[in-house]
């Protein structure tokens, strides 16, 4: 028997959700296998995961809370992925956004919220954007691969954050812990409805705003169209006289600004100060989300929530089954690989054929016999 592949002439319509569900199921099987290998109850572990993630209201609210930075970072990287620019640097841009917000909060601490909040936001957006523009500039000027440079800048960004909280911005009252002083109340985003919605804060509002802006930008503006057209390659861009270099700068700048926005919301709303525990890998999860959602805004929102819930569920597994935190990353990886592999079947169909031996054949082959 021989497996043969054919490119589909028509896009897969109703079969596509089936493909995704199968991929998801397969990734769960992989995870169960991993649990079994680690000597933990496989099915029981997954049950804990699901109960931990979706079983209680506070877990769902926690997932929603975690989905905010993931969603914003994911929109940012999706923008650059649209034109095949691979911005892996959301994590670093997120860190710089947090640094920017902290700088404004500490410098203009006496100002009222209406002045202070915009200042924090602005400096976060600017620093995040600048951090994204570095790999863009390196790529355009020196031909440096942006995957490598943006990835490496993540570590630099985190080190910048740590340098500040271990040094210049260290809180004198922190007993030696690396953290900035707590922000003045005017610099802290308040909660929406503390009694009912838990820790959920007004930063949530940024998500629909950013999502709508993303959608409108891509579908209704000329630049958005030019971006998608550039995704087909630099050669097409040159043919159609698209402003390729400008667009690279634009997507990397905007992507950095979105990640910076996420960073400022995270520092201001959930921690109320800058500290290294802020960096939990939202910027990397965002890349997985963007891919799984195929760069579309609604699926990005949905997937960001799912992967955030996964994080919450894994926390429950850690508590109940003493499973290492890295299991969350393994799950993320398994889902990503299975879905990406599954997407192969959206473009190709597979069929079984009788193998044809290479040895000389005396008898004519079946098709030829009919001819």
């Amino acid at each position: 028997m021989l497996l043969t592949l054919h490119k589909r002439e028509e896009a897969l319509g109703r079969g596509a959700p089936v493909v995704y569900l199968c991929a998801l199921a397969l990734s769960l099987c992989v995870c169960a296998l991993m649990l079994a290998l680690a000597g933990k109850p496989a099915l029981g572990g997954l049950a804990v995961l699901f109960r931990g993630a979706f079983g209680q209201t506070h877990a769902l609210l926690d997932a929603l809370l975690k989905a905010i930075p993931i969603f914003l970072c994911s929109l940012g990287v999706a923008l650059s992925f649209r034109m095949q620019i691979w911005n892996i640097g959301a994590e670093g841009q997120f860190a710089l956004g947090a640094v920017g917000a902290t700088w404004a909060a500490l410098t203009f601490g006496g100002q009222p919220a209406v002045v202070l909040m915009p200042l924090m936001l602005l400096s976060a957006l600017i620093l995040g954007a600048l951090w994204g523009l570095i790999p863009a500039w390196l790529r355009l000027r020196l031909g440096v691969n942006e995957i490598i440079s943006s990835l490496m800048l993540n570590y630099v960004g985190i080190l910048v954050l740590e340098y500040l909280v271990f040094g210049a911005w260290k809180d004198p009252l922190s007993f030696g812990f690396p953290m900035s002083p707590e922000f003045p109340p005017a610099a802290q985003l308040s909660r929406i409805w503390p009694g009912v919605l838990g820790k959920l804060h007004w930063g949530l509002l940024a998500c629909p705003l950013a999502g709508v802006a993303y959608s409108v930008f891509l579908n209704r503006t000329r630049l958005g169209f030019e971006l998608a057209a550039c995704g087909e390659g630099e050669r097409v861009a040159r043919y159609a006289r698209l402003p390729y270099g400008f667009l690279v700068l634009l997507v990397m700048g905007l992507g950095g600004a979105l990640a910076g926005l996420a960073g400022s919301i995270e520092t201001s709303a959930t921690l109320g100060r800058l500290q290294p525990t802020l960096m939990v890998g939202y910027g990397y999860t965002a890349i997985v989300v963007a891919w799984l959602a195929r760069l579309k805004p609604w699926p990005i929102a949905f997937t960001a929530f799912l992967l955030a819930a996964l994080r919450v569920g894994v926390e429950a597994m850690q508590l109940e089954l003493q499973i290492p935190a890295a299991f969350g990353q393994i799950m993320e990886g398994a889902i990503l690989l299975c879905v990406l592999a599954g997407q192969f079947f959206l473009t190709y169909s597979v069929s079984l054929k009788r193998a044809r031996p290479a040895a000389p054949k005396a008898s004519p082959q079946p098709e030829e016999a009919q001819a």
Binding site: F225, E232, V236, Y239, R241, R356, A358, P360, K361, P364
Partner: protein
């Protein structure tokens, strides 16, 4: 067995020797395109067979089938009289058929001897000295000068090619196929390669040499098969070829199958003026002192065998390459000024050779592909009016009968002919005064070809058309004047009605003035 096709043309090769490889009525289709159409060829031991043809003529597909990369849709391959069906290149190699690709497949960090014997070591323990001796002996036998101990990464392209050849020889290949082997070589290395080819064929190997360069084919081949549009156009002994011009004409086609109505159009103002345009490449001049004018209302056919400077000329005219030396004026402005204030409408339109991947984006639908070059016409400020663009795309689809008539299809879902009609329709919406059309009917079926020709002739009423083509029929049918390019030089520039000059086009294309 199927009814046998008569392959033994008595004129070709010694009849008493059995062919090493025989292709019998081999056909290969990709979608609607027939890449190889019922091709029959015999490859004889001790002979060098050249496969001559333009880009897209089907040479590489044919050889890929021999090398086991594709299976023929119809027909079959015989090796030493036995019918074979290769489903992988491994099987082809086992049957003694080896191919030297344009891109070498070597491990740069390994020595020549290690590369040659890679996967053929025959045991767990390696003996570098014996390996080097084996390779040195093999190289000496076939006259391939190489140091078996040298690191491949340090070698020149010509030397790397020798390593590839040695790999095949070591695997006891009887048939060696070379795909455009001289493309990466310097003239000196080319001569050395030809010497090695003669040497190998003298020792009984069958050589297949794929090329579109006439002079090379004539200097090295014993037999020449001309491939055009997927068919064998003719097969000759090299000694019988009296005029290279004839070979060139066969390569680009001389048969006028179709006619189109041409109404005379009064020439208008000058739209393109090229003066002494030259461009240097690594291997010599790519464009050499090219000068010509083009007026509105006229089609200028730029004719030549592929790779003789057409690409550089088009990319310069269309703004991708800034002219190095010489003067290029578009619509009365010099190149810099024209491209500084490039206007999408009423200026220049370009229908490139690569219609899916350059002229269109494969994964965008027809509306977006319309917007690709006309987006300025559908935008107000920063906004894009997609609804209006959809209507315009629908108009193009209707006006030019673009099948299957749906604008929500992505470009890759259209056949080449329909996509080309759409591209032409789109470019004409830009009201160009200068239209550059590059190989506009390559790979199209007859109906689509005719439609494209009609469109181009209609376009000429309002524009000057620079038609770059390798197809003589097309050039003669459409052009008012013809310019022949050879190695970046203008070999001739004359009215298409000049019978005497038209007769000489073949020799001009072959570089014989």
């Amino acid at each position: 067995m199927r009814n046998s096709l008569d392959l033994h043309d008595p004129d070709i090769g010694p009849v008493d020797v059995l062919p090493l490889v025989r292709l019998a009525g081999v056909t290969k289709r990709f979608g609607h395109v027939v890449a190889n159409d019922c091709i029959s060829l015999s490859i004889m031991p001790g002979r060098i067979k050249a496969l001559l043809g333009e880009n897209g003529a089907g040479k590489s597909t044919l050889m890929a089938m021999l090398a086991g990369r594709f299976m023929p849709d119809e027909g079959h391959i015989e090796v030493a009289g036995k019918r074979m069906a290769f489903s992988s290149s491994r099987q082809a190699i086992a049957a003694g058929i080896g191919m030297v690709y344009q891109h070498f497949m070597l491990v740069e960090d390994m020595s020549v001897a290690e590369n040659v014997l890679l996967g053929q070591e025959g045991g767990f323990v390696l003996d570098p000295k014996a390996m080097r001796a084996t390779v040195a002996e093999l190289a000496a036998r076939f006259g391939l000068a190489i140091d078996p101990a040298a690191r491949v990464g340090d070698l020149s392209m010509g030397e790397r090619q020798r390593v590839e050849i040695l790999k095949l020889l070591h695997r006891k290949s009887h048939v060696l196929i070379f795909d455009e082997p001289t493309a990466v070589l310097t003239p000196g290395e080319t001569e050395a390669l030809f010497e090695a080819l003669r040497n190998m064929s003298a020792q009984g190997k069958a050589i297949v040499f794929i090329s579109h360069k006439l002079e090379e084919v004539l200097s090295v081949a014993d037999e020449i098969a001309v491939l055009r549009k997927g068919r064998i156009e003719g097969e000759f002994l090299a000694s019988e070829v009296s005029s290279p011009a004839d070979l060139a004409r066969r390569m680009v086609g001389r048969d006028v199958l179709l006619t189109v109505e041409r109404e005379p159009v009064e020439p208008g103002p000058l739209v393109l003026s090229v003066r002494n345009l030259s461009m240097q490449g690594a291997g010599g001049a790519l464009l050499d002192d090219v000068s010509f004018d083009l007026r509105q209302g006229e089609v200028l056919g730029v004719l030549g065998v592929g790779g003789n400077g057409q690409q550089q000329l088009v990319e310069t005219v269309c703004g991708l390459i800034r002219p190095e030396s010489g003067q290029l004026d578009l619509l009365g402005h010099n190149w810099d000024k024209f491209y500084e204030h490039h206007d999408w409408d009423g200026a220049l339109a370009w229908v490139p050779e690569d219609r899916s991947g350059l002229a269109t984006c494969r994964a965008l639908d027809l509306t977006d592909n319309l917007l690709l070059t006309t987006r300025e016409g559908f935008s107000r400020g920063i906004w894009l009016d997609r609804a209006r663009a959809r209507k315009a795309a629908q108009e193009i689809v209707l006006a030019h009968n673009v099948q299957p008539g749906r604008i929500d299809l992505q470009a890759w879902q259209l056949s080449g002919g329909n996509l080309q009609k759409f591209v032409l329709g789109r470019e004409m919406r830009r009201h160009p005064r200068l239209l550059v059309a590059e190989q506009p009917t390559q790979g199209l079926d007859i109906a689509a070809t005719e439609a494209v020709w009609q469109l181009l002739l209609k376009a000429r009423q309002s524009t000057g058309v620079l038609l770059v083509t390798g197809d003589l029929t097309e050039a003669l049918l459409l052009s008012d004047r013809i310019l022949v390019l050879y190695r970046g030089r203008v070999m001739g520039l004359f009215p298409a009605s000049d019978k005497a000059q038209v007769e000489r086009i073949g020799s001009m294309m072959a570089g014989l003035s």
